[in-house]
């Protein structure tokens, strides 16, 4: 930068000094590249980002206060609106915390466990498809977005058949799931897996191997493993930095210990470990793993009940406190619930992965180019619905 500035000054008539000045740039809250209503105050020097500060809260509706005013069953509905791209995971995370209050006597029926895994993994694919598609758009590739949405549409149609909703499912409930899935539907999901796997190769051809895309993302926004842990980053953001932490492997919840899958991590294949490309590539590879899990689940799904009889229509979780986490598309989604034995929970606290992931933004964007800031925000793949809650 400095050498460039000097050369410009030398060219200026009369040797006038053409120094660049610091400028405070307001990006958002309504900006297509911020993936929602995120506002970033950027201190720039020419095209360089000297510092930036994310301002969040534009979507705040105090989800946690809502939960203190509605019954436990109604609260499931509010969780849909947290990370609205992975509502199955939100439902599951919240229900798991409530189920933990019941203790080991509460057994979730096998069939419900399998349905949960299938839905969660399909939802992860749908969410990653959106992340990858919009990320391509962020850095100038429009075509992959259209392909990604074509595939995502198929998953949303499956969900529409299963529970009547395309985004806010309210499907996984304490004790099981809301409706059963018929065999025709399971066959359709199997067909989707066969259809989808070759499509991932197409994305690799279109985007992952695209020289322009690689140049825009490799060595950009490098996040070291230590910094990621310090900021509580989880999910693909942490794994992109080369840390193989996945709750489905480390602390298997549900029935994840029965499935075989790998945990992809960033390896710096085009640049440095923990750059934007690594975070992107982890998501692409996770889609393959998710498809693997869905296929295994489809093979062994048993028949039977879909809801535990122990949980009645009026849910009164036993007195106690529980904190549980699941591996959602964007990282560890946790719920801290406090129950005093009434139908309405005393306190619900949501630990949202995007809240942590976006807080690291100033650290990894300092000193980058302004256009790279867009690439960095996109690679963190945040959903403001859960940042702001």
């Amino acid at each position: 930068m400095s050498s460039e500035a000097t050369s410009t000054a030398a060219l200026a008539p009369g040797g006038a000094d053409l120094r660049t000045e610091e400028m405070l740039l307001n990006m958002g809250p309504q900006h297509p590249a911020t993936h929602g209503v995120l506002r970033v105050m950027v201190r720039t020097d020419g095209e360089m980002v000297l510092d930036c500060e994310p301002h969040v809260g534009y979507l705040h509706r105090c989800f946690e206060k809502h939960c203190e005013n509605v019954t436990t069953l109604q609260a499931v509905l509010y969780t849909d609106r947290l990370d609205y791209l992975t509502a199955m995971g939100n439902n599951w995370g919240f229900c798991m915390a409530v189920e933990k209050l019941y203790g080991p006597e509460l057994v979730i029926p096998e069939r419900a466990q399998y349905i949960r895994v299938i839905c969660q993994e399909l939802n992860r694919i749908a969410s990653h498809l959106l992340a990858i598609g919009t990320y391509g758009m962020d850095v100038g590739a429009i075509t992959p977005f259209l392909y990604c949405f074509r595939e995502r549409e198929k998953i949303l149609t499956i969900f529409e058949h299963i529970c009547g909703q395309r985004l806010n499912y309210n499907y996984i409930r304490p004790g099981g799931v809301a409706y059963d899935v018929d065999d025709a539907m399971l066959a359709l999901i199997g067909d989707f897996c066969s259809y989808f796997l070759p499509k991932i190769d197409e994305y690799d051809d279109l985007l992952s191997g695209n020289d322009i895309f690689v140049k825009r993302t490799a060595n950009v926004g490098v996040l070291s493993a230590k910094l990621a842990i310090d900021y509580g980053c989880t999910g693909p953001v942490l794994r992109g930095s080369g840390v193989p932490r996945d709750l489905r492997k480390d602390k298997p919840y549900g029935i994840y210990e029965r499935f075989e899958f790998d945990v992809p991590v960033g390896s710096g294949e085009h640049g440095t470990v923990g750059d934007c490309f690594d975070r992107y590539m982890v998501r692409v590879r996770e889609m393959r793993e998710s498809t693997r899990i869905v296929r295994q689940a489809l093979k062994s799904i048993p028949g039977g009940e879909i809801r535990s009889a122990k949980i009645k229509a009026k849910i009164r979780p036993p007195k106690g406190e529980a904190f549980t986490r699941i591996e959602n598309s964007r990282g560890d989604l946790g719920f801290y619930v406090v129950s005093d034995g009434k139908e309405v929970l005393y306190r619900v606290k949501c630990r949202a992965p995007s809240f942590h992931n976006i807080s690291v933004l100033p650290e990894i964007s300092r000193g980058s180019m302004l256009a790279d800031l867009i690439a960095i925000i996109g690679s963190l793949d945040i959903v403001l619905g859960e940042v702001d809650r």
Binding site: H60, K65, I229, G232, F323, R347, F355, S359
Partner: protein
């Protein structure tokens, strides 16, 4: 190091300063006074290797008890061993020392707990509201919170 070993280490190092330990609870925790917290936080991170602050939950425990902060800590390796630390403070002196220099994610979490519950984190470099608007009044997650009738002339229609 298992959770039991961590608790034993903490007990050995802090003795009476740890006021309560419950390993049988659904969420095993240790409790300490606010004044012990900075030392304990550093000890847990540096000596016990709990390098990730997973979650900070503020809870209004109601009249006669006060406010509580629950820190869920974890070691970010395959063991994922962790423990919760609970700190209780009275309403009239709801102050807990900040640990943003120990775990940097505490920065935003403490701002959130200040915003929604009014727990003041002493030593925080920028303790301002994070989720609510800057000029919002009150702390919504307090149990005695009343939502305002109007905000900048906009009527509140929510009952």
């Amino acid at each position: 190091m298992e959770r039991g070993a961590i608790v034993a280490e903490v007990r050995k190092a802090f003795g009476e300063r740890i006021t309560e330990v419950d390993e049988a609870a659904l969420e095993p925790f240790v409790r300490c006074e606010a004044s012990t917290w900075p030392d304990l936080a550093r000890f847990l991170k540096e000596r016990c290797g709990l390098d990730m602050l997973v979650c900070l939950s503020g809870i209004d425990r109601g009249k006669g008890v006060g406010l509580e902060a629950v820190y869920n800590l974890e070691r970010c390796d395959a063991s994922r061993v962790g423990i919760a630390v609970k700190i209780r403070v009275p309403y009239e002196a709801a102050v807990i020392p900040s640990v943003e220099t120990v775990w940097r994610t505490a920065d935003w979490h403490e701002r959130e707990a200040w915003d929604l519950l009014g727990i003041r984190f002493e030593g925080h470099h920028n303790l301002v509201r994070i989720l609510c608007a800057e000029d919002w009044e009150g702390h919504p997650l307090r149990k005695d919170y009343k939502s305002p009738d109007r905000y900048h002339g906009i009527k509140n229609n929510v009952v």
